[in-house]
């Protein structure tokens, strides 16, 4: 069955509008070399379901990217995720935090000291600009749970920046529930 031309034009325009945000997310978690393939997988999934996507589709796109990355790590089965994310933050963050109460280096250090699930929800809110509903879509949890996770993560980040952070909990933690 041939692809409907009108639908394709609309998809292309939508792709141009939304892909920078997906790229900004993916770039945090993999190398530049791997970004394109991850993004292509995300938009291939989007293209096959274009008519069913929600009006505000960025959370869906980011959630799909998250799943693609998780399965890519599974396929590669190598430990690149966490350390790549730590390196990626420093290289993609804005050069300075002018006018803020916190120095850039202290901020990145405090983020790096957080558990991965705290990092994730903070960056979804602070860098990807998602509200609690969007975060819930990405993480596959309820809006109430997303709001609670964000609130706890904000407090932990503030504690870390205040030099009053607790020692990391050594037990297992649920880092994410994919949808």
């Amino acid at each position: 069955m041939d692809i409907d031309t009108n639908g394709e034009a609309e998809f292309r325009a939508w792709y141009q509008r939304t892909s920078p945000r997906v790229y900004a997310y993916v770039r945090r978690y993999c190398s530049e070399d791997d970004c394109d393939d991850v993004i292509a997988e995300v938009y291939l999934a989007a293209w096959t379901r274009f008519d069913e996507l929600p009006a505000e589709a960025v959370p869906w796109l980011i959630g799909t990217a998250r799943n693609v990355l998780a399965n890519s790590w599974r396929a590669r089965e190598r430990r690149r995720r966490l350390v790549a994310a730590l390196t990626g933050l420093d290289s993609v963050a804005a050069p300075d935090c002018a006018g803020q109460a916190v120095e850039r280096a202290d901020l990145l250090r405090a983020i790096a000291a957080l558990r991965a699930d705290d990092q994730e929800v903070l960056l979804l809110a602070g860098w990807d600009g998602l509200d609690s509903s969007g975060i819930a879509t990405v993480l596959g949890c309820s809006v109430v749970a997303a709001r609670a996770r964000l609130s706890r993560a904000r407090r932990r980040l503030a504690d870390g920046l205040s030099d009053t952070s607790e020692a990391p909990d050594p037990r297992f933690h649920l880092i994410a529930e994919a949808n």
């Binding site: 141009q16 790229y23 274009f50 993609v92 803020q100 860098w127 994919a178």
Partner: protein, 314 residues
């Protein structure tokens, strides 16, 4: 003296550190976006609506027919394959021997799991320099493709993965080495070593237990046409087991890097993977166990349960 930062101040600082839009646009420039979009729209899986996710038969039929028609003239081979020296006849013969012993994939019986265990050790980059790690990973694969994973060591974790397509899902491609290579060369993006990408794609296919036998065999034969691939038979893997080593080197784009897979010469099963950088092993993975089991262990059940919902704990 401790300075107290409020959650609002912390969040404001985080937002202020958000990557600059201009910087993102500079990296995600128009030409790059167009390339990725082209990859999406020409993917074999891009058919929409109820059309199943498989290659359009007329397209691949045309490719196959073209290969048959012009192969004698040698023209089409030059279009599809890279210019330059192909793999050696010795490598091609050795890879063909491996491909010929790939056993037919026995379906996993319902109610059982295919258990695969490997041990890995390596070094990874972090903001504090190189970090060493060591893990043992056990995967229980069910007949429907869901996978329960327990990882112990530096990155202790439990995962329950859904059976969705991976990058370079070669199961979507006809199990023909020439078509497979053309498909991969057309899809590789963002890498300055296309040959390495082909080697990695084949490696992923060999690693993934659910890969059908024909696809596995085609991936091995495909490597015969990839420059930089050499094969050594009658060697041993890091555990001293008889093996055939398939090695990839790209001195131009990956100087000092040697990537090897060790395969069992009796059934082409993956025995080990080794990466060496500047003469030093940077990653070693040794497969120690593959067998069918009747149940999940208690700890895996406790963390992940049996409900088919992706979960990740660490």
């Amino acid at each position: 003296m401790t300075t107290k930062i409020s959650p609002d101040q912390a969040m404001d600082a985080l937002i202020a550190a958000r990557p600059d839009t201009d910087a993102i646009d500079q990296s995600w420039y128009i030409g790059r976006r167009e390339q990725v979009l082209r990859q999406v729209m020409t993917s074999p899986g891009s058919a929409r609506a109820a059309t199943p996710l498989r290659p359009r038969r007329p397209r691949w039929g045309l490719v196959a027919a073209a290969i048959a028609l012009v192969a004698a003239a040698g023209l089409f081979i030059q279009v599809l394959l890279p210019l330059g020296a192909p793999g050696s006849p010795q490598a091609a013969a050795a890879l063909d021997r491996l491909a010929s012993v790939v056993p037919a994939k026995t379906p996993i019986p319902d109610g059982t799991y295919e258990l695969t265990v490997y041990q890995e050790a390596g070094q990874a980059e972090s903001e504090n320099g190189l970090v060493s790690y060591r893990n043992e990973r056990s995967t229980w694969l069910a007949s429907d493709g869901w996978a329960w994973v327990r990882q112990t060591g530096s990155d202790a974790a439990y995962h329950l993965f859904s059976p969705i397509p991976r990058n370079y899902d070669l199961n979507l491609v006809p199990a023909d080495p020439i078509v497979m290579e053309a498909y991969l060369r057309a899809r590789v993006m963002g890498s300055n070593s296309v040959d390495e990408a082909l080697f990695v794609a084949a490696q992923d296919t060999l690693r993934f237990d659910a890969t059908p036998a024909a696809t596995r065999a085609a991936a091995l034969r495909m490597l015969a046409g990839v420059p930089g691939v050499t094969v050594a038979e009658n060697v041993t893997d890091p555990q001293g087991r008889p093996a055939t080593e398939v090695r990839f080197v790209d001195e131009k784009n990956r100087p000092g890097v040697v990537q090897s897979v060790f395969l069992d010469p009796s059934d082409a099963q993956l025995l080990a993977e080794v990466d060496i950088v500047d003469g030093v092993p940077s990653y070693t993975c040794v497969y120690t166990e593959r067998r069918l089991v009747g149940s999940l262990p208690a700890d895996v059940l406790s963390w992940l349960g049996t409900e088919r919902t992706p979960k990740h704990f660490r």
